[in-house]
């Protein structure tokens, strides 16, 4: 379990300057994508993915791929975002592995047709719900968690018996290239493909007609994907970035709170879609929180985070410039604020005196910048949260359960976590997804399987008991309408009104 020595920051910087994916491999254009789609559809129609043995073998191969190439993934993510080995293993590889193992051990159960409880109105029938694969799934990953966001949905798609095309984000060039190289080496070459798409080509790919499209990204692109999917009646799961609020109450263990927030906000150099994006801090707790944040940052990354092996870098020049702008044009820097252009380094930064109109509050958070806004109480926090779009996550830190309940019950979000952050987004047992502007549909564990399945209702009757069905046939006029009253009465007692039918 010993890790190879991490290079010094200077060598990391040189690694970050390595060639982009255009030089490493050819991006997959729309015409190549059509060809790949055709092959995947043919493989699906041939019934290749139908058997549980096939699906399990693919999932096992995926686990092997992660284990065999752990060092390669660590290396690739290190080059892309200076991601420490610990974070790559914990938040990327282990999360996917967990999902795959969970799917493998539950697959038979999930695939079982669900027998519907019969009551006396359906006693003579067989009612089952059969889980059917949809067909062909398109998975569009995101640079914030390039492995997790491609491979966790892929686990669900495979388990549900679909063929899939994954599109890793080209922003993390080395990770994309590695996935592009490894997928054909481990997974069935006809059923599963990797294409590397430029952001502007994504809707053209969606237009090629898939049965389900999984997209993780920002709201504007999400709308384009949804509109393209509408043109072909493709189902969608959209997980979209909308700023996640985090309320910090006056009654809480401020040191633990600060530590958990620091971990969530600044891992991966703040490049996360599920971390708290801004703090709504109770006025009485603000000074203590700032102090505690300083302490935690010192504990985690030392005096100069630029020298820490545990601290990342911004993924590319474009994001670095945007993040720098946000930092300089929003509020006041109270902690951090240092940048280094050559390394695309931004220090863990906390802002105060932030206005809602500042860039940091209006744009997606793409770096390690944590704005703190002051509120007088939980009511004000709730009003603020509700004045904005429904976020992916709402967080609340308090030792008072009434406050937690209030924040939870009076707001809406994809998910909710109290007294911690991020964890609810990687749990295999909880559905994770957005609502309203933060998306639609959910995934993880069983919910991934369900998202990529069609639940087909089957009502199987015999032709034996025809006398029972006679009452529904015309002519009606001379039928005693009291039979209708009988039906209504029986209605109340059963789950289906086909009692006498």
């Amino acid at each position: 379990m010993s890790s190879p020595p991490s290079p010094s920051p200077t060598r990391w910087f040189k690694a970050l300057r390595r060639p982009r994916v255009e030089d490493v491999c050819v991006k997959t254009g729309v015409s190549v994508c059509s060809e790949v789609l055709r092959r995947a559809r043919a493989a699906f129609s041939a019934g290749r993915t139908a058997q549980d043995t096939f699906r399990m073998a693919q999932l096992e191969a995926l686990v092997r791929m992660l284990m065999d190439h752990e060092c390669d993934f660590v290396d690739a993510l290190g080059r892309d975002v200076h991601k420490p080995r610990f974070e790559t293993v914990m938040s990327e590889l282990l999360v996917v592995k967990n999902e795959a193992l969970h799917a493998i051990s539950n697959l038979k159960k999930w695939m079982e047709p669900q027998r519907i409880e019969r009551d006396w109105s359906t006693a003579l029938d067989e009612c089952v719900v059969v889980n059917e694969p949809l067909g062909l799934v398109l998975i569009i990953g995101n640079w914030t968690s390039p492995l997790q966001l491609c491979l966790v949905p892929l686990v669900g798609a495979i388990a549900a018996g679909n063929c899939a095309i994954i599109s890793p984000s080209e922003t993390c060039t080395h990770t994309a290239e590695l996935l592009h190289r490894l997928i054909p080496a481990y997974l069935d070459n006809e059923c599963f493909h990797s294409v590397i798409a430029a952001a502007h080509e994504i809707t053209e790919k969606v237009d090629l007609k898939f049965d389900h499209v999984f997209f993780f990204g920002d709201k504007e692109d999400g709308i384009k994907v949804a509109q393209a999917a509408a043109r072909t009646l493709a189902r969608v799961t959209l997980v979209l970035r909308v700023k996640n609020p985090c309320y910090v109450d006056s009654q809480c263990d401020i040191n633990t709170t600060a530590r958990r927030i620091t971990w969530a906000r600044f891992h991966n150099a703040g490049q996360s879609a599920v971390a708290p994006d801004y703090i709504l801090c109770h006025a009485e707790a603000k000074e203590n929180l700032l102090q505690a944040l300083r302490c935690s940052l010192q504990q985690f990354y030392g005096t100069d985070p630029r020298e820490s092996r545990s601290y990342g870098r911004i993924v590319n020049e474009e994001n670095f410039s945007k993040a720098k702008e946000q930092l300089w044009r929003s509020g006041k820097v109270i902690i951090g604020g240092q940048v280094n252009e050559m390394e695309r380094y931004i220090a863990p930064t906390v802002l105060t005196d932030v206005m809602e109109s500042d860039p940091i509050m209006q744009q997606d958070t793409i770096g390690p910048i944590l704005p703190i806004l002051t509120v007088q109480d939980a009511d004000e926090a709730v009003a603020f949260i509700n004045s904005r779009e429904k976020p992916l996550c709402v967080y609340a830190y308090s030792s008072n359960n009434k406050v937690i309940s209030k924040i939870m019950n009076e707001t809406s979000s994809g998910s909710f976590c109290s007294n911690d952050s991020v964890l609810q987004s990687v749990m295999v047992g909880l559905p994770f997804g957005g609502v309203g502007a933060s998306g639609m549909g959910s995934y993880h564990g069983r919910y991934s399987f369900d998202a990529f399945s069609h639940k087909k209702s089957c009502l199987l009757r015999s032709t034996q008991i025809e006398c029972m069905t006679v009452l529904r046939y015309p002519p009606y006029e001379d039928r005693n309408l009291s039979l209708v009253s009988l039906a209504s009465f029986l209605n109340l007692k059963s789950q289906g009104w086909c009692t006498i039918l």
Binding site: M1, S3, P84, F86, M90, H102, C127, E132, G135, I223, Q227, A229, A230, R231, L233, L240, T256, R259, R260, R309, Y311, Y397, S399, M408, S412, G414, S415, F416, C417, S418, N419, L423, M427, G429, L430, P431, V435, A437, M440, G441, S442, H454, K456, L459, L460, T463, T469, Y473, P475, Y476, E477, V484, A487, S488, N491, S494, Q495, G496, W497, C498
Partner: protein, 490 residues
């Protein structure tokens, strides 16, 4: 501000007051809806008679019984459906609360259809109310009398602001679609379905689309043909074939065709007399446009039974077409009328291939006494739902989710599925600010040892009984103590 915009804004304001969140309020509204269905039977039946020439018995059978059943079920089960749903925990969350909380979405738009206006407009409304939403109800203008009844009487029973009825045609619907909703529930055809989904996408509004398609009906050699044909005739010609899950066309062996035609002819006579034009139980085509469409579909195919029609009355007799070719006009679109084509296939393999070459339908019907054959067809084809040895009835079982797949739609409803479909299932994790020692392994500075412990703790969740939970908790405390002692003596 347009009338539609006003209605939506009022509904949203009413939703934000929070009154639809309380279970008591939802139950009151559902009970009021129940009273409406019971007290206004006469008005409902009269309107349906004018719109679709539906008989009174037909109204109960096909519309109001179903909706009443849905309301009853919702009243009985609402508390259970709306309660937090616990999930399995892992070692890391053993001392936390982890569950899924169903929440209302907000303002739902229900766009109804004209063929079973109560079932497909008020049916989804039951789910919307049960889930705690506000709902804007847009009945189909084609069933204009029913639409008027909804507009006039629903506000007398339901909360006027939370559940407004907005009537109108294409223009009004387009105006509604410009507004922002939290879910749109549409029943109708695929072309309009795509337009609605695209309009919804602008606001990132999820949609449930109950669309149509050509629902195939396979008749195996091995089945009681008399009963099969009776059930098919009933399923096909009820409501004059204007049912989204009507058996659209028959697939059978050539040797069976004549007998199938005979049996269906016999049943038509039994149900609708020698002259269905005069029979009070036989409906009409909804309007001239659809009448003309159906007449043109018959072109190029041989008529085996009837084919009689009367343009002034929008009447087409129950008709069977024989030896229909796959490329015939009648096989190119959903029929939605009383024309029943028979396409002959030589084997079940050919039937499966035929079905799979076409878009996924809303329903598949299989008539056979061979269970293996039924299982095979279920496994080797895809459709919204499957019904063996009968027609239409799977719509009526509330515990079965009803909906389409592929071109036949997305999303589902009936019973709890209606509730879940119009709720947001929010993942909730409630932790305490304690046991921080366990968390320390995830904090920087990262070390190989910490990674080792992290790998250990991030196992898959296991199903624990309460005793198992206690044992695991004890184990966790021991581990935490070991970690603190070994690594973190401050």
């Amino acid at each position: 501000m347009s009338r539609e915009q006003k209605a939506v804004e009022r509904a949203r304001k009413a939703f934000f007051t929070g009154r639809s969140k309380s279970l008591e309020y939802r139950i009151t509204q559902l009970k009021n809806l129940q009273r409406f269905m019971q007290e206004r039977q006469k008005e409902i039946a009269e309107a349906l008679k004018k719109d679709l020439k539906r008989s009174e018995f037909g109204t109960s059978l096909y519309e109001t019984l179903g909706v009443e059943s849905e309301i009853n079920l919702a009243l009985k089960k609402l508390k259970e459906w709306a309660a937090p749903r616990p999930v399995n925990k892992s070692i890391m969350t053993i001392s936390d609360q982890v569950y899924i909380q169903p929440e209302p979405l907000g303002v739902v738009l229900v766009i109804g259809a004209w063929n079973y206006p109560w079932a497909v407009t008020v049916g989804p409304l039951v789910g919307a109310i049960a889930a705690g939403n506000a709902a804007v109800i847009k009945p189909s203008e084609v069933s204009s009398h029913t639409s008027k009844v909804m507009e006039e009487f629903l506000p007398l029973y339901l909360d006027k602001e939370l559940y407004p009825v907005v009537t109108g045609g294409v223009k009004e619907t387009q105006e509604l679609l410009k507004q922002r909703f939290d879910h749109i529930f549409y029943t109708g055809n695929g072309m309009v379905g795509k337009i609605i989904m695209e309009a919804a996408a602008k606001h990132l509004t999820p949609t449930t689309l109950e669309l149509g398609g050509k629902s195939p009906c396979y008749i195996d050699k091995n089945c009681d043909l008399t009963i099969a044909c009776r059930r098919i005739a009933w399923g096909k010609y009820s409501n004059c074939g204007q049912t989204c899950i009507a058996p659209d066309y028959i697939l059978c062996d050539p040797s069976m065709q004549d007998r199938v035609i005979e049996e269906i002819k016999k049943n038509i006579k039994e149900f609708y007399t020698e002259n269905p034009l005069k029979c009070p139980d036989y409906g009409r085509i909804i309007n001239q446009r659809h009448f003309k469409r159906l007449m043109s579909l018959m072109e190029g195919s041989s008529i085996a039974v009837s084919g009689e029609h009367n343009e002034a009355e929008c009447y087409i007799a129950p008709t069977v077409l024989r030896d229909v070719k796959p490329d015939a006009k009648v096989m190119q679109e959903e029929i939605f009328g009383p024309l029943l084509p028979i396409v002959t296939v030589n084997s079940v393999d050919e039937a499966i291939k035929f079905i799979n070459q076409r878009e996924k339908p809303l329903a598949l019907y299989i008539f056979s006494s061979d269970k293996k054959l039924i299982d095979r067809m279920i496994a080797e084809t895809s459709s919204g739902g499957v019904m063996a040895n009968d027609c239409l009835m799977h719509f009526s079982v509330s515990s079965l989710p009803f909906g389409g797949v592929g071109d036949s739609g997305m999303g589902r409803y009936h019973g709890q599925h209606g509730f879940d479909n119009l709720s947001h299932m929010r993942g909730v994790l409630l932790k305490q600010l304690k046991m921080e020692a366990v968390n320390k392994m995830r904090y920087p500075p990262h070390t190989a040892d910490k990674l080792g412990w992290a790998r250990f703790f991030m196992v898959r969740h296991v199903d624990f009984g309460s005793l198992g939970r206690m044992a695991m908790l004890a184990l966790l405390v021991v581990f935490a103590a070991v970690i603190i002692q070994r690594y973190f003596t401050d």
